[in-house]
């Protein structure tokens, strides 16, 4: 409890608080504008956190994460264009409400549902994460290698059309992760005498390239959108206590679904939103009214996608395994700050971890205040022509890639990975496995080789350790279940 209070006090210092406000604001903006994503927002802001104190930088990034989960609903409800994948389901009932002239109520319910879902997941994060981290302290090299292998197998969860494509994307990432000094013998590999990649492929330019450049390419030629008229006055946005009380069941079940989904790496907020919407519809006495402008249809996905944030941070902070693109970027941010997420983080930097929880709590409050008070501004942001917006973002991408090492090599690396990301998307190879593999690859290699060296090359070491065996069994079980699920799905669909 003391740690929690300390964390809150650290997060309430003027600098972290200021950056939390900025983060929440930018998170809403990035999520609200169709074509921009929360991941892209965090990636673009990451280079500017290098010189910040770790608490301040995490306040900014957590603010973007939390703000982003709320902001997606704005364009979903007003334009029927989801600002991010998590808000796709929100548009099903949110936009019909806007067409009925009830955009203000829909936005208000979405903001409050996001807030309550996020709060629920924060409570889970604070309760579960320290226990899990304490347990993970028992892990040695074989257990860590098996755990990372499990994380790598979860890559299949990102498969959109084909499991083999997701795995190929992951293996490409693993191949890129072998560039640079070998983690055991410090022998340079695949460096071609290029000094800039002696320490490996820089994570940040790769991330900017893979996530931001394809979005810029696709978004640049977009057109200006038209918005419905609605009142942006605070009293018209605030849902009545009666409305919220009527939604408590939906909020509770959606928050639980969102947090649980967040715990499972590779699932993502879109799955959480869809699952909670389906559950709300199934349990509703009027399931037929869903899709025609029902407040439960807005509340369920918004509570779930916000609740996912806290859930996704549990494996990222305790085990060093990111659950979704945003937590993968945050993992990179922590690494850049010289902090290695995992069980040791709780022991060596316990105060810092609790300051993240504090920042999360503050970001939740800030987001709802900023969203309610700034809705008029966010509506104006939606009117910015993509032709002006996306080239400007391209400039920020170049600055971001350059700022890491003041090197133009990183800018060219970003452009190269941007092109790769664009073609991967076009050929249905998911990008996320590649990024996850670049992050997790070196950790796996180091621990797997250390284990094998300890056992004189006997791979049995991974099976003799009970925790390692459990992780390997889980990895196998996951692969088999994904394979069976996809096979039954394809059989149901029949030949193309």
């Amino acid at each position: 409890m003391d740690l929690l209070v300390d964390g809150l006090i650290q997060a309430l210092a003027w600098k972290p608080l200021l950056f939390a406000v900025l983060g929440s604001f930018l998170g809403i903006v990035f999520a609200a504008i169709p074509g921009l994503t929360v991941s892209m927002g965090i990636i673009l802001l990451l280079p500017f956190t290098f010189h910040m104190a770790s608490v301040t930088s995490m306040s900014l990034l957590v603010g973007v994460f939390v703000g982003g989960m709320t902001g997606g609903s704005i364009s979903s409800i007003l334009l029927n264009i989801p600002g991010n994948p998590a808000a796709i389901v929100t548009s099903l009932d949110g936009h019909p409400l806007a067409r009925q002239g009830r955009a203000g109520v829909a936005l208000g319910v979405a903001f409050f549902s996001s807030f309550l879902g996020g709060l629920f997941s924060l409570v889970c994060l604070i309760t579960i994460a320290p226990q899990l981290a304490e347990f993970a302290l028992n892990f040695g090299a074989p257990e860590l290698a098996s755990l990372v292998l499990l994380g790598l197998c979860l890559i299949c969860g990102f498969a959109q059309t084909s499991m083999s494509k997701a795995l190929i994307s992951g293996l490409l990432g693993l191949s890129f992760s072998t560039v640079g000094m070998d983690p055991i013998d410090s022998i340079p590999r695949f460096t071609f005498s290029v000094v800039q990649i002696q320490q490996g492929v820089s994570f940040l330019p790769v991330m900017i390239g893979l996530f931001a450049v394809p979005e810029i390419i696709s978004g640049m030629r977009g057109s200006v959108v038209s918005l419905p008229d609605f009142s942006t006055r605070l009293r018209d946005l605030l849902p009545s206590p009666g409305t919220l009380a009527g939604l408590w069941k939906t909020l509770a079940q959606s928050s639980l679904i969102g947090t649980t989904i967040g715990l499972l790496p590779g699932t993502g907020s879109a799955v959480a939103a869809l699952l909670s919407y389906n559950t709300a519809q199934r349990r509703s006495p009027e399931p037929e009214s869903f899709g025609k402008g029902k407040l439960e249809g807005v509340s369920a996905p918004e509570a779930a996608n916000s609740a996912m944030t806290g859930g996704a941070m549990i494996p990222m902070l305790t085990l060093g395994i990111p659950g979704d693109p945003v937590t993968a970027v945050m993992l990179g941010a922590l690494t850049i700050q010289g902090l290695a997420p995992g069980p040791l983080l709780f022991e060596s930097h316990g105060g810092f971890v609790f300051s993240i929880f504090g920042s999360f709590f503050i970001a939740l409050f800030l987001t709802i205040v900023i969203a309610l008070l700034g809705i008029r501004l966010f509506v104006q942001v939606l009117r910015v022509p993509p032709g002006l917006l996306f080239p400007s973002i391209a400039v920020f991408c170049v600055i971001g890639a350059f700022a890491l090492q003041n090197s133009f090599f990183d800018v060219f690396l970003m452009i190269g990975f941007g092109l790769l990301g664009y073609f991967m998307q076009k050929f249905d190879y998911p990008i996320m496995p590649l990024l996850l593999a670049i992050i997790l690859g070196p950790v796996f290699e180091k621990n797997a080789r250390m284990s094998l060296i300890l056992s004189d090359g006997d791979p049995g070491i991974f099976f003799r350790k009970p925790i390692s065996l459990v992780f390997l069994a889980l990895a196998l079980l996951y692969l088999v279940s994904v394979f069976l699920k996809r096979t039954s799905f394809l059989n149901r669909r029949g030949p193309a």
């Binding site: 084909s162 191949s175 022998i187 002006l388 080239p391 400039v395 170049v398």
Partner: protein
């Protein structure tokens, strides 16, 4: 375009990525062969051990991908054809970004960003110079000031600063 030529184009499109992946594996494998062994880690556990595993798995999965595409349920056949315009847009933007990076080194940040934004905004469909010029000049100056002077990012400078 005849049905036959469409079919050939589809098959070439479907094979292009697996062929590229196999070429990548061969190239990657040829470099692995040349990697030196570390002291005391001769044999299978040297620096080439893990890259070998990834290369081998990549080859196997590429073959699986080709197999499922041709012999299996073939869910992805429709996705291989990408629009020529999309490829052109992607390459144009990347070339413009390369131009921006090169120009920044010679003329400095502000002038390079003004040139890049003017060209890219016009290319993206906004035709009015009355809109473009004030926007790009103000944007470049403000961004340079914020990043260089406030955030201390050492952007390449020019005669303007």
């Amino acid at each position: 375009m005849t049905e036959e030529s469409k079919k050939i184009k589809r098959n070439v499109g479907r094979l292009a990525v697996p062929i590229l992946l196999v070429v990548f594996c061969i190239w990657y494998g040829s470099i692995i062969l040349e990697l030196p062994q570390g002291p005391g880690t001769e044999g299978p556990l040297g620096p080439s051990f893990v890259p070998w595993v990834w290369a081998a798995l990549l080859v196997v999965l590429t073959l699986v991908d080709i197999g499922t595409d041709y012999l299996g349920k073939a869910q992805d056949k429709a996705h291989v054809a990408i629009e020529r315009k999309g490829v052109f847009d992607a390459l144009t933007l990347c070339l413009m970004l390369v131009g921006l990076a090169l120009l920044m080194q010679y003329v400095g940040f502000t002038a390079a960003v003004i040139a890049f934004l003017a060209v890219s905004i016009r290319w993206s469909g906004i035709r009015s110079w009355k809109v473009i010029l004030p926007y790009v000049v103000i944007f470049a100056l403000v961004v340079n000031y914020v990043f260089h002077h406030i955030l201390k990012v050492p952007l390449p400078q020019d005669w303007l600063f």
